[in-house]
């Protein structure tokens, strides 16, 4: 075991994958010599050479388009989009091409590639450094979408993603890069070195895609969360004293409905939380699935806490961010219902 921040864990995952498989290539804006604006690829170019880790022109469609070509050829590209907010120029390549290549060619060609991108708010990044676009990907048939919440999972999930034969969207909550963030923004920040999930095995291991995990066992209400909101949900449970069971989804698609259903059947109550805007967010899908599978055991309406349906503002960062206060209110409502 080693102590790692989420950045180090992600870097370690790529190092392991590149060492095991010479077909793994890593590229993106500022990713080569400098090692990425968040330093996730630092040292990879030195270690593996410039033809396996390199800087690209600033063209997200070019990054993903070339990655698809390489993946179809037989490589396993793991590319970085500098911020999820800048993925839109690549959206056509992702949605029309990567997602459908296997289906439309009946397996003649496939696109085993991983697209990493920092996501989410909490850093005063304004509307161009704070978005959570996961629902734009879970809505597309042919993509898998992953959101880790800690260094251990980040490493295990990223290795699994790179080794997977389908295109993967890998969203990295940037507010978690250096330490867990529970939404109490006025309190001192803890580094990952002080958190058990900053303990990461060395070498190769995977966290399987499509498996959720119970982060905080509880009996009163189930909270479904992913990324930063896992930590916020735990903080809300502690602040309210409500015995919530917090499930970290880890992979949004494929979704681990079994773990969710088992928990909701026990608690009879559920709150769904995400940073992304509310309307047509991934929470809507979760609520529909729970309604379909657990309707008769529900004792209260399923609650949703999400980002307001506005662009992500700058000055009003903490008015916007769905912190433990708002999650706590939803827990109380679910208990009262």
């Amino acid at each position: 075991m080693a102590r790692m921040s989420m950045i180090e864990a992600i870097r370690d995952a790529m190092t392991v994958a590149m060492t095991r498989d010479p077909g793994v290539v890593v590229f993106g804006e500022d990713v080569g010599y400098f090692g990425g604006v968040f330093r996730c690829t630092q040292g990879l170019q030195q270690k593996f050479g410039a033809s396996r880790c390199f800087d690209t022109p600033i063209s997200e469609s070019g990054i993903v388009g070339t990655a698809i070509g390489m993946a179809a050829y037989g490589l396993r590209p793991c590319v970085e989009i500098q911020f999820a907010d800048y993925v839109y120029p690549a959206y056509d390549q992702i949605v029309s091409e990567a997602a459908r290549l296997r289906y439309r060619s009946n397996g003649d060609f496939t696109a085993p590639l991983t697209i990493r991108m920092p996501t989410g708010g909490g850093i005063f990044g304004g509307q161009t450094h704070s978005q959570s676009p996961e629902a734009l990907f879970t809505h597309v048939a042919g993509l898998k979408t992953v959101v880790p919440s800690n260094p251990y999972d980040a490493k295990g999930l990223l290795i699994a993603a790179i080794e997977d034969d389908d295109p993967i969207i890998f969203l990295e909550p940037k507010r978690l890069y250096n330490g867990p963030f529970d939404g109490w923004h006025d309190r001192p920040v803890t580094p990952w070195s002080k958190h058990p999930l900053g303990e990461v095995p060395e070498g190769h291991f995977t966290v399987p895609l499509g498996k959720a995990i119970v982060r905080r066992p509880g009996a009163a209400v189930t909270v479904l969360a992913y990324g930063t909101m896992v930590h916020v949900a735990i903080a809300a449970a502690e602040a309210t004293g409500i015995d919530a069971e917090v499930i970290d989804l880890r992979t949004l698609l494929p979704l681990d409905l079994e773990t969710i259903e088992a928990s909701v059947r026990r608690t009879g109550r559920c709150v769904v939380v995400h940073e992304a805007t509310l309307t047509s967010g991934f929470g809507a899908e979760l609520v529909a699935l729970i309604q379909e599978t657990c309707f008769y055991v529900l004792e209260a309406p399923i609650g949703r806490v999400a980002g307001w349906d506005t662009p992500y503002p700058h000055a009003q960062e903490w008015d916007y961010f769905p912190g433990p206060g708002r999650v706590g209110d939803a827990l109380r409502e679910a208990m009262a219902g």
């Binding site: 410039a50 839109y88 161009t128 000055a315």
Partner: protein, 410 residues
């Protein structure tokens, strides 16, 4: 196996990395005054060489020479110097303010001041810029109030954008400054659309698009060029080549093309390359390109050759990816020093007056900052309301947002 042996990937590298001696030996700098000035209605194919040279006016002795010289009265050049000094003083104060935690983020244009300041002066009222985050000179040279800029940077209660936008992503329609999005390249093609609208309506306004060397790689850049070419849009398409895109040197975006300006040729757009650190050259070329647009002759592509002296932003540390002394080795010098020496040579400026103005502009900026801080800074004092956060998403607030705002209790 082919008779030519295995293939290998070419990945361009800059001349120097940290620890190396900076070397701009391959940057060919023609002497000032040596590049011809064609008539504005010249057919593009006759001036292809203008995309490979550098149009320069100010020579090493601080004299204005050649066919692009003599266009700017001393009074205007003096104003240009003052504008650039104001931009520089403004940047220095705001950098400090960010370090003091008064805002989250700042971006300087150190070394690139001549480009926006001189270009702005060649425009007419009613024209529209589609700037990037490094064209604060357009606003300052255009007389936009410093206090309003600072209010935006501080995201305070008087912020014209009510705290919604990241610092420096200004919007000022009244000053011909389109709202900056922050997504690279997207607005280059919008500038073309704005210019097409002026042509459709039979107006006389023109537009100017702005983009960095790095961002020319975006598809929107190429879309802008093809639309501008096809419809002969009255637009000036500016590329600020400051050698770097965060940590990525310009060779990554440029590829095998000799210059960024040369990108215009494939689209049949006249393309000029100009010394971006030479206020007089920038102004002369801007006037040329703007006149072409105004006379319905169509678009012009202009590459400004300059150097990003400072870090990309307050989140960046360039010592990790380029030689520390690289900016001192930059062969085109400093735009403020060069214009200052010219004006001293003309007998209309002096070292003393320069020092005196530097002090004056410093106190002007300081006074503006005091005024802005009365309205708050990012983490203290007056701030935009939470209510404002819900407004302006749509013209009229739809019911779901009304519900959310009520739920938020504001």
């Amino acid at each position: 196996m082919s008779e030519h042996g295995p293939l290998s990937l070419h990945v361009p590298e800059p001349e120097g990395r940290p620890g190396d001696k900076p070397d701009f030996g391959d940057v060919v700098i023609p002497a000032a005054g040596t590049v011809a000035r064609p008539p504005v209605d010249v057919p593009p194919e006759e001036i292809r060489e203008l995309a490979y040279t550098i149009i320069r006016v100010l020579n090493r002795h601080g004299e204005a020479v050649g066919p692009w010289a003599g266009l700017l009265p001393d009074g205007d050049a003096l104003q240009g110097l003052r504008d650039m000094m104001k931009v520089r003083a403004f940047d220095a104060r705001m950098l400090t303010a960010q370090r003091q935690g008064k805002t989250s983020f700042y971006m300087q244009c150190l070394g690139e001041e001549a480009i926006a300041c001189a270009f702005q002066k060649a425009l007419s009222p009613g024209d529209m810029n589609f700037p990037t985050y490094r064209q604060q000179g357009l606003l300052i040279a255009g007389g936009y109030p410093l206090v309003a800029m600072m209010n935006q940077i501080f995201s305070n209660e008087a912020d014209p954008l009510t705290g919604r936008q990241l610092p420096v992503m200004y919007s000022a329609r009244s000053h011909g400054f389109f709202s900056i999005s922050g997504n690279l390249g997207t607005q280059y093609v919008q500038a073309v659309g704005w210019a097409m609208a002026s042509a459709i309506k039979g107006d006389t306004r023109i537009a100017a698009g702005w983009i960095g060397d790095g961002a020319t790689a975006e598809s929107d850049f190429h879309a802008a060029l093809v639309f501008a070419s096809t419809y002969r849009a009255p637009v000036v398409l500016n590329i600020v080549n400051n050698q770097w895109a965060i940590s990525t040197f310009q060779g990554i975006a440029r590829g095998g093309a000799g210059t960024f300006a040369a990108r215009g040729h494939g689209f049949g757009i006249p393309a000029l390359r100009v010394d971006g650190n030479d206020y007089l050259a920038v102004h002369a070329v801007a006037r040329w390109a703007i006149e072409r647009a105004r006379r319905n002759l169509g678009p012009t592509l202009v590459e400004y050759v300059t150097y990003r002296v400072a870090a990309h932003s307050t989140s960046d540390d360039p010592s990790a990816y380029r030689p520390k002394e690289e900016s001192d080795a930059w062969p085109l010098g400093d735009p403020v020093e060069r214009l200052k020496n010219y004006l001293i040579g003309r007998g209309v400026w002096s070292q003393d007056r320069h020092a005196q103005y530097a002090a004056e502009v410093e106190s002007e900026v300081l006074a503006a900052q005091k005024e802005a801080e009365r309205h708050g800074t990012l983490h203290s004092g007056g701030k935009p309301s939470m209510r404002a956060m819900f407004e302006g998403v749509y013209k009229e607030m739809p019911p779901h947002l009304v519900r959310q705002r009520r739920k938020a209790g504001v």
